[in-house]
Symmetry: C2
Subunit: 343 residues, 2 copies
């Protein structure tokens, strides 16, 4: 922090002295109050500039109990999807005068607990949370009862009454599966995620619904759980192709998983889209650049982020209504899904 020549921190009092006014006046100037004469304001602003004064928000919020800090807790910052989501959220807060405070939990509930505590200690105005896998209602009790505005993004938590912003996972997955069925596939796998994540339940649910509507059985060996990583995608392909009656296509929990599945297919000398069809979910930037370009369910990441930010802003401004926003999804048909080899 800036210190005056005498070594102490530069405060409003120093500014007041330098400008020859009282500190109330300085405070008014800082808050852009119209009560202050232009002449006086300039003197104050000048003093601020020459002394290198920095407003102390901690002190201010101690007095008036308001902060411009918003917490944003991400379960996997290494997944480009969440980086994109974060950008959408940041953009809104920036223009609204709030500063988002991003932290990464890397799917660890322990790390998440630490991060949440830290953020609450810093008296954030609200929290946008992409819950780590394994988060339970009890983990968020303190936040809910404390009355902190909370928006759950991408995943909900059973029993937690908070606003949420998620893509329409069910519809997206059903549509993607229908598309694979239309192409002629009959044995379709679902890869990635765990049944204890709402996003997986919903996406896998859409997949099942489409199969059932087509009169097809849902084969348990075709649903492969695992972390939402490339490794899971690759391992699943190995596992699926060693089945007696292997699938001819797979819907992946997300694009990162699909990227891994695509790697494994290539390693086996199989042509994605021709020998085996792959559909992803999210439509991260990488998807269209992958080879072959990935057929995937686009979730409009940016607007999801903006919705989350706006929901948060509304709550901060005192609107206590809960709202579950379901984002539009659209199937992006590219080249990773085609007709099955031999029908």
């Amino acid at each position: 922090m800036p210190r005056s020549p005498t070594g102490h921190r530069v405060t409003m009092i120093d500014i007041a002295e330098a400008a020859g006014v009282s500190k109330s006046t300085v405070s008014l100037v800082l808050q852009g109050s119209p009560l202050v004469k232009a002449d006086t304001r300039d003197k104050v602003l000048n003093a601020i500039d020459t002394l290198g004064y920095v407003y102390n928000r901690g002190a201010a919020s101690l007095r008036n109990a308001r902060t411009n800090l918003v917490g944003m807790v991400i379960n996997d910052l290494a997944n480009p999807f969440f980086a994109e989501l974060a950008v959408g959220i940041e953009r809104v807060f920036q223009t609204a005068g709030y500063i988002p405070f991003i932290a990464n939990t890397a799917e660890s509930p322990t790390r998440q607990a630490e991060v949440l505590r830290s953020m609450r200690e810093h008296d954030i105005a609200g929290l946008i949370l992409c819950p780590a896998r394994g988060t339970r209602q009890g983990d968020l009790d303190a936040i809910i009862t404390g009355g902190l505005p909370l928006v759950l993004a991408m995943r909900r938590v059973a029993g937690v009454k908070a606003s949420s912003v998620t893509p329409d996972n069910f519809r997206g997955a059903r549509r993607a599966t229908e598309y694979l069925l239309e192409l002629g596939h009959r044995r379709i796998a679902f890869i990635g995620g765990y049944a204890d994540m709402t996003a997986q339940t919903e996406r896998c649910g859409g997949y099942r619904a489409a199969l059932e509507a087509a009169g097809l059985p849902v084969d348990g060996t075709m649903v492969i759980e695992g972390p939402t990583t490339r490794e899971t995608g690759a391992a699943a392909i190995e596992q699926l192709l060693s089945l007696g009656a292997p699938p001819t296509a797979a819907l992946c929990f997300n694009d990162v998983v699909a990227l891994g599945a695509n790697d494994a297919l290539r390693r086996r000398g199989l042509a994605t889209g021709a020998d085996f069809s792959l559909v992803g979910f999210d439509d991260i930037r990488e998807a269209r650049h992958m080879w072959p370009p990935l057929t995937t369910v686009a979730v409009d990441t940016l607007s999801l982020g903006e919705k989350a930010a706006h929901a948060m802003l509304r709550m901060i401004h005192g609107d206590s209504r809960r709202d579950d926003y379901l984002g539009d999804v659209t199937l992006m048909m590219r080249d990773s899904a085609g007709h099955p080899k031999a029908v």
Copy 2:
């Protein structure tokens, strides 16, 4: 923030009353002081739990002028490289009890100025900055004179005396260029970045040095500047291939640029590695999964992040020595670079 049944915020005083001690004692317990009897400590801890007390760090740091907040300003969070860097940094701070506060400037100096101001207002203990393109000495004056611990990461700023952590850009680029020369290439381009970024000067400098050492001319039309994006990589390929004597290989400023160049080659029906060679820089996770796998200069991202965090921690603990850390680089030979078509 949690409120007591009567509606006011739960403070140390409430805890003191509930536990039947003074608030000094509560403060001591909170700080883990050994002065407090185990019995008393338990009573206090219990009261904290039942009342849902949350420590107010703003008030604490107002009193003792220390924070556990560390700012981390990233110039492009959408580039996976920086997400990886952030993870390395976070890891160290987490164990040291500091909480990093990530913000993204998206290469905008204006946005950067806003973010820096906000962070200073929140009285951060230190700042790790990946400067946005166009950052000048003057932009960091206030921070330097204010005595805020500052570590520059990935890019330095001319005239700014601060510790820095960067990969050995010059050596990495020279080595990569030498490798292309060894493969038989004689016309080699350099794609991406701007000459006003230290990282570009250094990488492009290594490229020039290698060419000169080989007695080859440095052709200005072979050096293409631009934002460090996929689009730049793609556009550069179009531009280079329309040259009278087009290059047979290119060193890209970073992997993201190389990804874009690879897209453009594919679109033209050219086989990367056979028809045209590409080398990247950074070795982001994506690089080895790209098709063909990208030959690139690995920079040991994680340890770069850790070095930055440790340098920061040292400064926070009062060590004022400046230190410029130059990270090791190693050429990862994969398949995107091969012998030129016809030599």
